[in-house]
Symmetry: C2
Subunit: 371 residues, 2 copies
């Protein structure tokens, strides 16, 4: 682990404030879980915010314990000499509100009632997550971020940073994102939601933490996995192979792709809260860069910083044309914008599976911004 | 209804035989439901077999009662002067075995036990459905079929006819089919299956007919509908519009695409048996033209008749490259083969939604075969 950030600890901070949400409701106090890697320089101008995807967390790099089997979710990217070089940059990652990994979400205790929020938690938008992150940036005394970047829901956060706080972010890198989620993406989430709603253990969100609606959530997660893969990547990984332990003519016999979905689906309830999953799915569905603006043009015209966008040829969840809609708009507006369509067969997951195809472009971009 | 076949009746016939299935199991007696339109000519050479898709039935044209709200499922295609011209051709459509529309399936009574088969019904392949159809063709005294045609699962049946009974079919028209279902298609069916399995009312197939696992089957059907549509068709039909009766920040608020999936999903259990749905899904998953052959080449080399294939640009369930795999193989083998890639935004459903884009080509093809 020569280029690891080593042993890290997730920190938590609670802001005794009430956040005004897009819905008109308020949320507070706000607890945020976060991790930092590397050091802030004297000029306080080398901070990079890493934004996580749907079921991600603040633990982006390193290990919590020496014997942790796996490092943080973007450890390939973050460390000494890596793309997000901790010898040069101060890297920050915080868990979004609505999640269940240390930040305030539906499983948190509502201080007004002394009970978990559950479905009394307000419906959030990605913009609300960014407003909460801003509390942390202020708290850490960062005049501005050198960059906000992330994939998928992380890309949405990066874009929201640039239009909500244009004077606080000096560049953004949205990866495998979308200007607005399509009805196809919403439809897939609708099926995932309904899978949970159909589970008798869900009890309208009032399940006990130790008895989550595992069947429903596992099925919901399987739908997600399908959307993260691609026709080509499924062919490569599974083809039409039948599970070795099943007979092809067993009614309950499974293809390997089915076993994969089942295995990964049932791993999920142990590590993620069902209600958080649903709230974040909703935030994804509601995502529209132009929300509360007259148009996408008006929203993106607020962006003052250079942006570098990535899309992946086989991503059918947030297909390239959706990133290109934003890129073309920025070009039209005369904004400094770069875009790379990366040829990859791994679907929406490409940004995690084949980082070597594009992350050197991010390193160059960051070096330019920081020179 | 000037060009309607008018009032029609579904007929049933029972064959006191035992059909040897691909699985090694036997099934019998076999009842088949079927309809015919037009008249067999003296030469008995004008019969066309229409093969239905997953949840289709024998009622392809006309009405059962004058006040039926809707005609048969391919009424646009079948009638006097239409593409499948009942003034010229004798059209036959039969419900596949494994289904629940009059032919032997898991809801049928097993004569050995006096009880419904339910999950004791054997797992079927499309090839088995065609073997059962052959009983009917023999019974009707048809020396050969002028054509076997159909879309989706109907395309698979047409192909099986040509390789299983090459001397009994003089042309085939597979529409929106595949040489073998992909792991993506299997994955979507896997999720649909699990949605049913998760429903407490399913009871491992032992639900009462009047209390089907409606939540599970509705969800399973919703998954199917997603796969039948396309990103483009969802944009056209629903966009990101929110249901007028819901608030955007209601936890249970729905986008219009969600309402569509819910509405169509919950319409389904009243008209289709859950176990049949599962058995037919399994048959689709198992479909591989090369099954029990050394290769696709070997299988398709058995085909003796001209074939005309159609695929649709936006079909991501059975994408064009899957039809093209069969077409290229037939070309390589020197077989008479035609292929049209039809530009349509309606996904897998294109063959039902935009028939005007391609059915004239079928009419011409049939006229050539019958000249």
């Amino acid at each position: 682990m020569t280029s690891s950030v080593g042993i890290v600890t997730t920190q938590q901070i609670t802001f005794d404030t009430e956040l005004q949400l897009e819905s008109g409701r308020v949320l507070g106090p706000i607890t945020l879980a976060y991790e930092t890697y590397g050091s802030l320089n004297a000029a306080r101008d080398n901070a990079i915010l890493v934004c996580h995807a749907w079921t991600g967390d603040a633990h982006a790099a390193g290990r919590h314990h020496p014997d942790d089997r796996k490092p943080g979710w973007w450890d390939d990217m973050i460390g000494p000499g890596k793309v997000l070089d901790t010898d040069r940059y101060f890297i920050l990652c915080s868990n979004v509100i609505g999640s269940c990994k240390g930040s305030t979400g539906p499983a948190s205790i509502n201080p007004r009632t002394g009970k978990p929020y559950r479905l009394s938690f307000p419906v959030l938008m990605v913009r609300d997550m960014v407003r909460a992150q801003k509390l942390l940036i202020d708290h850490l005394g960062l005049p501005s971020l050198l960059c906000a970047l992330g994939g998928s829901m992380g890309a949405m956060q990066a874009v929201e940073w640039s239009i909500l706080y244009p004077d606080r972010v000096r560049s953004i890198v949205p990866i495998a994102g979308t200007a607005r989620t399509s009805p196809m993406a919403i439809a897939l989430n609708a099926v995932a939601r309904q899978a949970v709603f159909n589970d008798p253990l869900w009890k309208k969100g009032n399940y006990r933490a130790e008895h989550p609606p595992a069947d429903g959530l596992a099925l919901a997660r399987a739908v997600g996995h399908i959307s993260f893969l691609s026709d080509a990547s499924m062919h490569m990984k599974f083809g039409r192979r039948f599970s070795a332990r099943d007979g092809q003519f067993d009614f309950f016999g499974k293809f390997e792709i089915e076993r994969y979905l089942e295995y990964n689906g049932y791993n999920f309830p142990a590590r993620f809260d069902t209600n958080s999953f649903l709230y974040l799915a909703k935030a994804l569905d509601l995502y529209d860069t132009a929300w509360n603006f007259d148009s996408l043009d008006e929203a993106l015209n607020l962006m003052q910083c250079p942006s570098l966008w990535f899309a992946f040829t086989s991503d059918w969840l947030y297909p390239p044309y959706q990133t290109e809609e934003a890129v073309r708009t920025l070009e039209k507006l005369g904004k400094p914008v770069g875009y790379h369509l990366i040829d990859s067969d791994y679907g929406h997951d490409s940004f995690l599976v084949e980082p070597e195809k594009f992350t050197h472009l991010i390193a160059d971009f960051l070096a330019q911004q920081h020179s």
